[in-house]
Amino acid sequence: MVQALIVLGLLVMTYNVFTGLQMRREAPGGIIGERLSQLNLFIGFFTLGYLGVALLVWGRAVDLLLVVVALILLFGSIFVLLVLRLVQAVLKALGG
């Protein structure tokens, strides 16, 4: 179960990487463009972190601490997804 949560978080974060890069092409500069560059850098870094955690905890016995960590990672990836959606909406509004 813990592994499933972490893998789910990893998948969401991987999706975030592609979404972030796609949005960066829509906003090559300016305030949003600069912040997206920084955001993408951290998204990439955290994705590697999710992958590392998944490898480290794979096959380990499930305990409460692992469940809490897995949930935090999953909700963290959802949080990033929501932030990207917000920026996407702003870009769409500016384009219209």
Binding site: A27, G29, G30, I31, G33, L94, G95
Partner: protein
Amino acid sequence: MRIYRQSSKPLDELLGREERLVYALCQQEVSDVVLAQRTGLALDRLSEILEGLEAKGLLELLAATPPEQPQPPTPSRPDLAEAKAQLVQTLQHTLGRQASRYLAEIEAATSLSELEERALKLALKLRLTVSQEAAQALEAHANALFK
């Protein structure tokens, strides 16, 4: 504008043809503007005749409105095509080839007020998504053109 009418003094002297015409038309209250239209005389010539008749006491001046003060010069606004050209030039100068993506937004404006609105909106878009320097240049140029 000045309004004249014949005075009560009887006409006891010989007048020229134009003077007679003007005098005849002044049987009722009439303005110098209307007199100029009816007689076909130039305004300066008409004024000369009216002053002469007034000096002789044949006409009386009933009312005079001061000449209109010239309006203070208002800062001239550029015409639409000129303003568009200037904004396009600013965009091309700051964005280079990338400017072609945004020129349509400027060219689509059909009035100066719409152009101002579009330019400021485009400046915001550039500031957020393309280049803050280009946005500042465009905004400054738009403000200089329209304020």
